[in-house]
Point group: C2
Chain length 500, copies 2
């Protein structure tokens, strides 16, 4: 192997070790840390982040990448080494463009903005958050200015989460999707509603936990390389391909969320566990983008975990576990209840049919803020108007409207659309999978997920960061990300449930 490549791998391997050490510290912070441990932990994380950044943006890494780009100019561009150099060089270029002083300033403003957001949300008063959000957006625009101009300033932001994806592409996808989802929701609203009161009874936490673990085990989540803990928010985190952990939580008002969180996070985790072990400690480790990651979690949560065949297998066991709560509830009623559509104010509680509309609203507002065509002061009003337009409901206050999400408080803009894109990709992959595995429903009905997981491993997981998201979807399904499969999936599913 090239001596330069060896040197680069050694240096980037150390950067990866530091970053993953930081992930362990963050996981511990959310799962185990005693109440007073926060200040020192923040300091430790800041030090690790600083060292990682210094090491990654060192002149030596820059020189090696320059040399390697020349060395590999004529190499097979599909080789792992070529891909590794390409991705590392892109990350290096991005990291070098943003001055460390800017990163520090953004972190300080984010802390203040987060505090203002907490206060504003508590008092449901947008005016408290407004000046900080204005500052955040100013910094976001400054961030964009460090990069060569794209077709749209928002492209730079999107690229951090979905490498290679353009704002125009996302807009086109969403423009195709929005009227169809709005129409579907209207039709559902005019139909006979489903009953789900039995889902909101008291369910024993330990039993829900065990049931979730049992499903994740059958899915194929490898516990010898993972574990589940409780945390305030469900998440997946990766310390190595052999140590991929998930968390879940118990919500008294919505006990079933514990189960579906486990399904969702185990989907993320199986992606990470399936990445080529050769990519460890290189730029190719980890899932390739947030949308592709979300396609995996959403697939196991929804396309599998909220499907009828799935519950044909698991409902008898669930009923046995919760005999009083599910007394007299048929499989069909249960299936309908967990798929109930109800336009609601809060994104994170949204069902499959309405979720994307929450995202589209946010994307439009973000683009407007970044373009400067939307004044921050008008945000609450526009938010409420769009909620009425898309979902037919209007938030009673800012806390349940424009202030509900944490993302803008820490200056994160460009993230939201990945959730909706993930939904689309999950359905697009699903159509392809069902062409390749003709009796998939029967397998699921038998509680057998190994062929499905094998397919995902071979087509998606194993590649890690090697392909950009659009290229990966193209390679696997024959076309770039497109909304049609998701529309077909929603329409079919909800036509049956609501008799449309």
């Amino acid at each position: 192997m090239s001596e330069n490549l060896n040197k680069l791998k050694k240096l980037l391997g150390e950067v990866s070790d530091i970053n993953r050490a930081a992930s362990i510290l963050s996981w511990d912070q959310q799962v185990n840390m005693p109440p007073q441990g926060g200040e020192a932990r923040g300091q430790q994380l800041a030090t690790l982040s600083k060292i990682s950044q210094e090491k990654f943006t060192s002149d030596e890494v820059g020189r090696l990448l320059e040399d390697l780009k020349r060395e590999f100019a004529d190499a097979d561009s599909s080789s792992d080494d070529a891909a590794m150099i390409r991705v590392a060089a892109r990350n290096y270029d991005k990291a070098k463009r943003v001055p460390p002083e800017f990163v520090a300033e953004q972190a300080i403003v984010a802390t203040k903005a987060f505090e203002a957001w907490v206060q504003a949300k508590g008092k449901s008063d947008f005016s408290i958050f407004r000046p900080l959000l204005e500052k955040n957006v100013e910094l976001v625009n400054q961030y964009v200015s460090f990069f060569p101009p794209g077709d749209h300033p928002y492209d730079t932001l999107l690229d951090d989460y979905e490498p290679g994806m353009k704002t125009a592409e996302v807009k086109a996808i969403f423009d195709g999707l929005r009227p169809k989802q709005v129409k579907l929701i209207k039709a559902i609203k005019d139909s006979k509603q489903v009953k789900d009161d039995f889902l909101h009874k008291k369910y024993n936490e330990k039993k829900l936990w065990d049931f979730g673990v049992d499903v994740a085990t059958k899915y194929g989540y490898d516990w010898s390389r993972g574990r589940q803990d409780k945390a305030p928010h469900p998440f997946e985190t990766t310390f190595s391909v052999n140590d991929v952990r998930i968390t879940t939580r118990y919500e008294a008002e919505n006990p079933m969320a514990m189960l579906f969180s486990t399904f969702h996070e185990s989907g993320h985790a199986m992606y990470e566990q399936g990445i080529n072990p050769k990519y460890e400690r290189t730029a190719l480790s980890g899932g390739t983008s947030l949308a592709i990651h979300e396609s995996q979690s959403r697939m196991w949560e929804n396309l599998v975990g909220r499907s009828l065949p799935f519950w044909e297998h698991f409902f008898p066991a669930l009923k046995k576990t919760f005999p009083s709560q599910l007394d007299g509830v048929s499989l069909k009623s249960f299936y309908k209840a967990i798929n109930k559509v109800a336009p609601s104010l809060i994104r994170v509680n949204a069902d499959e049919a309405t979720y994307n509309l929450h995202i589209m609203l946010r994307l439009e507002l973000e683009i407007g803020m970044v373009e400067g065509t939307l004044a921050i002061k008008d945000l609450p009003e526009i938010w409420n108007a769009k909620m009425q337009e898309y979902l037919g409901i209007t938030p009673p206050n800012d806390a349940k409207g424009v202030l509900q999400d944490i993302h803008w408080s820490y200056g994160s803009v460009g993230y939201f659309s990945t959730y909706a894109l993930g939904n689309l990709v999950s359905a697009q992959l699903w159509e392809k999978i069902n062409q390749d595995i003709r009796n998939l429903d029967d397998q699921i009905r038998a509680g057998n997920f190994s062929e499905l997981l094998g397919w995902l491993r071979a087509k998606v997981h194993v590649h890690g960061h090697k392909y950009d998201p659009q290229d990966l979807v193209q390679k696997v399904t024959g076309s770039k990300i497109t909304p049609e499969p998701y529309v077909r999936y929603l329409t079919k599913k909800y036509s049956e449930i609501y008799g449309l």
Copy 2:
């Protein structure tokens, strides 16, 4: 404040952050890590250790320390800053003397030696471990050669664990102690033995855990800055003065060990929680030596936790918790049982009266190995002869003899005596405490430990690394480490229990 001092604090603060991040990774490895996570974790720890070492031994740190030594030459030597510079300079000097290649070689040999030790212990065959132990001792001598010659080569090794302590001092202390402990044990052996069968019944793990937590809480272990988990071996670990954790374990054959482990580790933890917060991220953070640390853990485990006044308070609750196991057992019988003396083969299971003899045996062998006056091949034979001489028993095989401890497998020599010194210091402090707090027994009998903890905080804990162990003991008790208080303590306690 001096600009140089500010710079040094910043640099050493980062080194401290990295080291504590490594501690978090190690804790996680022992408490949470899934089975397959080990290889990547080893890599991550190696990277953190390398970066910490590079940063700490950088020329910049060296220059700053030189400048600061001059700058503080006339400063009050008892000031925190002067102490911090003194301790940091000593650590720097030590770290600089040992070449990184040597550290790497020692780590590689240690890994091989550890594997050989595991195999040798499994087969109870010293000859498998012998060549690796010879290599380890060779490296230990090479390590010693990096330092200016002391009065004895073993001084260099001891100094890493007990800064400032000399081999001759430890030998003198042990020489004074050994005949008295041997004599005491003989007298006990000739007395009526105590009954402890009820301690080895089945005790519910959860209830033992809760009881231990209750005691640690009453002791004053601050759970808002700590937590307890299960691990294969009990230990204490510090992530910051506000995050000090302990572990314990359940042993079916010896269930009470779970309780006493919690007492012991909470003693370590309260020491760390009590250190001056100003010392955080400097060379003065953490306990000053292993012996002083052990004096704290042993005090809460034994001088408090195995005392009659303690159980006068807690025995009724214990009996209520385990009514069938302790049916018909009186307070006195229970107290005698948990203090039963029985010369045994295994150090970690030894009682208070025999424990130090296990240590003395090891110290003599270590000194012989390092001096070269003892051939490694003769180790098993000499071990067995000394066991017979000191404890009146002979190991049936090497696994229960010379191969029982892990320490030599990873090349750690110089560590053992700190355990015995800790016992001595605990009794020495205890005499002083009882002069200062005249009704301490009554307080303990009432389950009140706050004045005791307050005393330890003010006299020992708060100082962190500021004073070397001998200086600290001198400062607090009026004399250096001496065996007499421990002998008095043992003689009084066991004379009562065994009617000597």
